[in-house]
Structure formats: C-alpha cells, structure tokens
Symmetry: C2
Subunit: 212 residues, 2 copies
DNA sequence: CCGTTACGCTACGACTCGTAGCGAAAGCTT
DNA sequence: AAGCTTTCGCTACGAGTCGTAGCGTAACGG
C-alpha cells in the first residue's frame, strides 16, 4: 500500500474507503475495457471520486493496475496435503484460478510488458506480487525436504538458484497455458504438469502410483 | 502477411519495400518508446510513409506489432545435436536470445495481454508465432522417440495433450525467467532447466551423465 | 477555534486518434 | 500511347484523453 497516512501527521487523513473503491473500480474497468482502453478518468467516475484524487495517490496507470491486481493474490495459501505432489497441485490450482479471472489476465500481462522499460515498476511488481508467490515455493520445498521427497539443502546460493528455477517453471507454465494457449489449467492439466515436474519427461508416460 | 496483392488484380501494387520499412520502424519504436507510448503516427514518420498508408494495411496497433514481432521468430531452427537434452538446450537458447531483445519483450507481452480480450488477435498470434514454435516441440519429440529417449506414441489425442503440455512448460519458463524474473536465460540456467524437464525435481540434484 | 491536509469540481493546452478528401504516381490492359 | 484501377503522400478535421492548475470546501489534530 502507499496511501497510509504518515504517523504523526496533521490535516485531513486520506480516505481508506476511497482506496478500496478505486482498486475495485480499476478491476471492474479491466474486465469491461481491458488494459489499453482503460482510462483514469473512467476509473475515477466508477469509484465515485474525482480524477485528481487518483493522480494524488498513484503516479499513473501502471502503478494503479499493479496495486489493483496484487490484491487478487492475497488469497494464495500453501495447502498441507502431506505430499510434494499434492502441495504442488494445490498451489497451481489456486494460481490458475486467479489467472482465470479476466482482470488478472489483461492487467497482469500488460504491466509486466510495461515493466520491461521501467525498473521501478518491475520492482513494485516483484515486491507486491512475485515475492509472495515465491515464498510458497520456498516453504513447499522445505517441507518436501523434511519428508525426504527432495534431496537436502546444498550451498545456499545453489538453493536460491533452484528455487528461482522451480518458480519460473511453475509460474511460467501456468501463465503460458492460461494466456497464450488460452486453455484452462484444470485438474487434469495440473496432474500432468505436476508429474512432469516431479519425475521428468521420461516418466511422464507412466501412471502415478495411486489411482483413487 | 496480409498485404500481398491478390493475384489477378489491376491497379498500382502495394509497395513491398514499404511493408519491410514499416515493420522495421515498428520494432525500432518498440525499443525506444515501448508499447504504450508507441503511436502509429510516429511509426509512419520513421518508416518514411504516410500515416494513412499504415491504416490501409493494418487494422490497428495490435495487428501491426504482432506482425513486426513475428518476424523475429523466423530464425528459429531445431538443431540436430543427437540427444534430447541437446536439442532442448539448443532450442531454448535460441528462444531466449530472441526474447532478450527489447522489441520482443515489450511487444510480445503487450499483444498477448491485449489478446485476452480479442479472439481474432489471439488467433493471429497463434498462427504467426506460437504454431511455429510448437512445431519444433513436435519434431524434437519425434526424434527423441526414434532414439528411444522418450516412450513411443500412445493415442493421438493423448500425444497432442503431451505436446501442448511440454510447449507450455518450455515456453512459459523462458518467458517467465526473462520477463518476470528479469534474469538472463543463459547457458547455466538452460542446463538446469533441461535437467528438471527431463529427469524431474528429484533428479535435479544429480549431475548429468556425460561431462564434456 | 485554527492550522493543515485531502477532497470535489472546473477548466485548460497539448497530444493522439482514426478518417475524409484530394491530386499524383505506378502498374496492367488494349 | 491512351485509359483504367489502385495505391500513395499530404492536409485537415472532430473527437477523445492526458495530466495539471486553481479554487472553495471538508475532515482531522492541537
């Protein structure tokens, strides 16, 4: 968040209700208009605030949409299924459910595209969206190592690289499936993906050990 | 392409030189301005043509950028390294090299974002960019099956699903690494990725069988 | 009650968009 | 060589958006 009133501050405080109304209006506008046709004037009207209020709180369209989309990822939780495969499937299904929403599709990819030319924007995305997801990978990996499903820790630098690699594979696959292939990442797909991730391509032909 | 002069047509033909100049100017504008600040008027000036000529050939910014970016993928070739791992690494490195270019980063993701609200645009992307990449997966997989590195074909519908899955994993990982994590998909990363893809997470700690 | 800050509203110049209309140019056909 | 057809470059235009400035009012804290 960025609109927190600095602690020992005088004067009229910023309306917290306006913040939530603006972010909700932004998501609604993303659904109806998409990124390119979304205008800040329209968002202001939807939220019931003045256009100038928007410009007082956000630098521009990019920052506003990042904050609006970031809230969608608040609900991400790491399930405790007891097995690595179960944890992966659970997280991926949650991630896929978020990405299936139209405001996430059009908003997230657009700001990522913009972030290729804006270092500050990329950092904002990283801090408010990506880092939260990556923490799930770290925790899930640690659990699996504790159960002996994954080889134990090596050097810490090597571990960081591995986490980054896993994260790029998991998040990238779901994003590509949802946005580029434009097919749902449903349970069947997630099962297949998880099997490839855990056992590799060669093992992908075999059935998993436990049919229901 | 869309500006081919219909076969038995009379009148002045469209300038092919204008086409290439416009697409090159579009890529240059993508590098300098990025997607959001790119204007068709600016592209026309760079290409040395009138703005109206642009509107006669392309419906809008989206279609123009898709064509401009699609040309970047013309150079994709499937290397014949003799092993599945080598083929995967070769293709991924080529793909990564293309995605490393700024005109690909800002252009490709932006049109993908737009395509979530435009069915025709998504089809245009699929036909001119995605399908070409997917063919490499199909061919590489067939070669590996011929060498016995992958289990042979099952049902054809099952095979299509597998190809789609592999494609989403490979392309998604490279895209996510390059655009979201904003780190280069260099040889070291590609080696690690290929190993996970072929042997799975559990085998990712082991060294590959054949050191040079 | 007073100082300070946020808010809503209006207005503004600058810019981009996509289109229309025109005369000239470049092909093919006869 | 003349005629037909289509494209091209150019200019101009209304419509819409941008981001900001200015003003009076509202909501807090001391």
């Amino acid at each position: 968040m960025q609109s927190r009133t600095p602690a020992g501050r005088t004067g009229r405080p910023r309306s917290a209700a306006a913040d939530t109304a603006i972010l909700a209006a932004t998501r609604a506008a993303l659904v109806e208009l998409g990124w390119s046709k979304l205008t800040l004037g329209d968002v202001a009207t939807r939220a019931g605030v003045a256009k100038t209020t928007l410009y007082r709180r956000w630098a521009g369209k990019n920052e506003l949409v990042v904050d609006a989309v970031a809230e969608l990822f608040d609900e991400l939780r790491l399930p405790d299924s007891g097995t690595l495969a179960g944890d992966v499937e659970g997280v991926v299904l949650q991630f896929a459910a978020i990405l299936a929403r139209p405001e996430a599709k059009s908003g997230l990819m657009a700001v990522v595209a913009e972030s290729t030319r804006d270092e500050a924007l990329r950092e904002r995305i990283r801090a408010s969206i990506v880092e939260r997801q990556k923490r799930l990978v770290v925790e899930g990996r640690a659990r699996a190592q504790g159960r002996g499903e994954l080889p134990p820790e090596t050097a810490s630098e090597e571990a960081a690289r591995t986490v980054d690699l896993i994260f790029d594979i998991v998040a990238g696959a779901v994003v590509h499936r949802t946005l580029v292939s434009a097919e749902p990442a449903d349970e069947e797909w997630v099962r297949g993906f998880t099997q490839v991730l855990l056992t590799g391509l060669a093992g992908a032909g075999e059935e998993p050990a436990s049919p229901p």
